[in-house]
Amino acid sequence: MPDPLLRIEHLDAFYGDVQVLWDISLKIYPGEVVAVIGPNGAGKSTLMCAIMGLVRARGRGGPVVTYDGQALDGVSPEEVVRKGITLVPEGATVFPDMSCMDNLRLGAYSLKDRDRETALLEEVLTLFPKLRERSRQTAKTLSGGERQMLAIARALMSQPRFLLLDEPSLGLHPLMVSLIFENIEKINERGVTVLLVEQKVTFALKMSDRAYVLENGHVVLDGPGESLLGDEHVRKAYLSVS
């Protein structure tokens, strides 16, 4: 078993004075797709933010977040991005008043090798042909699904080793949802490790190698995606609706 790409140990995270996560520990191995599921308000987004350094986190002695053997404690979000971790936050957040093309170019801002930018643009536009059509349009004129694609495409422009996706299917039309998940699989096939926070539990568990269940800021369950699909608690809590 290779070393984990990302290791989180005994993480407590806060929004201001309010504690949102308690004693979170998890591991993610290179090449995996790992899902984090759980109800709203469980702290899933906070977990993502903690990895990126956007939210202050506390451990119990020792590094809290270790990436590729290096501790990420106290590293600024800009620096975390340069190390190869990219987050696509929830809500299809693109830069609304810039064109799609400019949004994508911005994604490549942190690239060490600037010459790669044109080649990457080609790759990304081939993966998401819809965006090629819309490349000159201002981002805010795109539909919800297109903006989500743009956000993911933009994230790819930074050539991440590790991609964090926060609710990529949120508010999207079912057809769009399948498309998005197909694309995530394609991205993973290219060697990008993926951590996925999702409400669409069935999709998430089906495509993930392993998953964690987060409730009220605690990890309550973890295991291979398929087996969690069959788990009693998971079925009762999350699958009767989804």
Partner: protein, 307 residues
Amino acid sequence: MSRGLVTGLVLAAVLAVLPFVWPGYHLSLLTIIFYWIGLAACWNLMCGYTGYIDFGSAAYTGVGAYVAGILMIRLHLPLAVSILAAGMGAALVALAVGWPTLRLRGAYFAIATFALAEALKQVAEEWASLTEGGIGMTFTIRLDEMTYYWLYLGLSGLVVGLTWWIEHHKHGYGLKAIHEDEEAAAQVGVGTHVLKIKTYALTAFFIGILGSLEANRLGYFKPDDVFDVHITIKMVIMSLLGGMGTVIGPVFGASFLQIIEDILGAEFINYYLVIVGVIIVVVIMFMPNGVARTILLRFKKPAGAEK
């Protein structure tokens, strides 16, 4: 409360009697100090509590001076009537200007009010048929030294008392809520726009009265004197240094600064403005959330925060 009231009354009595004990030069200094306490308290009441910075308060000393001047000198109206009208005039201008600007970001209010002061100065210079333009106006009817002192004492006490009252009553909670988080205040039902305008007009009223009295006391004034941006600057500095958003702040700020100015003399005004500027910048650099709030935060345990 009653202990404070007694101290207050004793203090008031002492201050009221002072002119008899300390006539002449000292009386003049005290008079000026209370004038500035009054002005600073007005500025503080508006800006310290709403968080909207006014850079054009001099507009109202000017409006006050000219309304009183025109009424008394041209129309021969009695002093008391003219002074009151001066305050009303200032309040009316404040209402007109406050209405569009106070519903926008603070930046708009700050510079719009500054522009107002400069614009009115120009109007006063140009409209010579009304205001005598650059030649200036001269009051023939004036009061005696001690009356001005008592008037300023009373007015500044009134404004400070008003500040105290507002701080402890509904109006004040509303204002402070606006200062903290305007959107939340609006959602909770605080009529933010109206509250801001009322406060602005109220303080403009007093500034107008003070401005008109001072113009009368000096006897002669020109547009440059009464619309001078340095008036506003002094008011701002006095409130800042004394402690914005507190009741007693302007009292200390105004007294302290005016005494320093008196000791150093007007030639040193540039030096002390530099020093004041540096102090302001340095203080804010190290306490960007304002002096009061930073001290408060020290007493809370930091559990974690968003970067």
